[in-house]
Symmetry: C2
Subunit: 189 residues, 2 copies
């Protein structure tokens, strides 16, 4: 998606250790118009997926997932990163964070994930696929099905897409980064 | 806003101690179409505010803030509840959480909040006004201005709106709850 690649080039920053900082339009400040176009793009790519529900993880996944839900006419559920005090009957999995070098739990209420759900998982980044793996664990636990996974930015060199496709997942990434070496953003052609 | 009141009545749950649980469409599962209509309503109410930026707090504020930003053509910044590892130059304030009975920090990067900004603050709930107060502290620190505050659900009996209006804030709430006594949701007429 050219619009997203252009935005990454103009506003993204390469930090050390393969971290791409896109706080200017995705992880801290949001560009609502860009998010709407991203929602349209995911809706187009997953139009034939049969999805009945969008799943994402707070907080940065919410904006693109919401816009995808709007364009596809589907509800959106965001997994929480800690067990809320007012929530019982939780499904949980543990996710290792690449940027923070620690594990965090992801939690979804049983109320909002049912066996009959066909899940489209939307998230901001695909690095090693750890968050996606946590979601797969939870969805499997209730016997629901994942029909697709959409990511805004895939860091191909961390092999998350390869890992997920080997597990039979359909993966769509809107911008695929081949390398961040020498603090330079290099997209896959 | 009748649509929101109807949704609260049909899908909200009263817990003990004045807590209203709206996980079904706002705090865990999202209804994208409702969020879009909420964005339109805030855009209508704050059309004359002169806002240049929307501010909210992760995670539940993101959906309504994003839709308001989309309808008003403004960028959205979401304050983080913990200092991210990849973020420097942070503005912070401490907020006491009503539902969790503990304080948490809210953080905004100096990069995305400038002296010239006219801020419209959007959040899911208005209880005592603690999150709003934290935002006011941060905005004041950089010398920017808050031109309005919009909440989806105001719990009038916790006096947040009164408190904020006494501080000179313009407050708009889409659904005002007068009482949650005996686990019954009673809206203000």
């Amino acid at each position: 998606m050219k619009l997203l690649r252009d935005k990454i080039l103009s506003e993204g920053k390469c930090l050390d250790e393969g971290i791409l900082k896109v706080d200017a339009f995705l992880n801290h400040q949001l560009d609502p118009k860009l998010m709407e176009q991203i929602g349209e793009e995911f809706a187009r790519r997953f139009a034939d997926s049969g999805a009945t529900k969008i799943l994402t993880v707070e907080a940065s996944g919410i904006a693109p997932a919401l816009m995808t839900g709007l364009k596809m006419g589907l509800p959106v559920v965001f997994a929480k990163k800690q067990k809320p005090s007012t929530m019982e009957g939780m499904l949980t999995a543990s996710v290792h964070s690449f940027t923070k070098w620690q594990a965090y739990p992801i939690c979804i209420s049983k109320e909002f994930l049912k066996m009959e759900d066909k899940i489209l998982f939307i998230d901001d980044f695909l690095a090693y696929g750890n968050a996606a793996l946590g979601i797969m664990e939870i969805v499997e636990e209730v016997g629901a099905e994942i029909v697709g996974m959409g990511f805004l930015i895939e860091k191909e060199f961390q092999n998350g897409a390869k890992f997920l496709r080997e597990k039979g997942m359909r993966v769509e990434s809107l911008a695929v980064i081949e390398s961040l070496e020498n603090h330079e953003i290099k997209f896959k052609e």
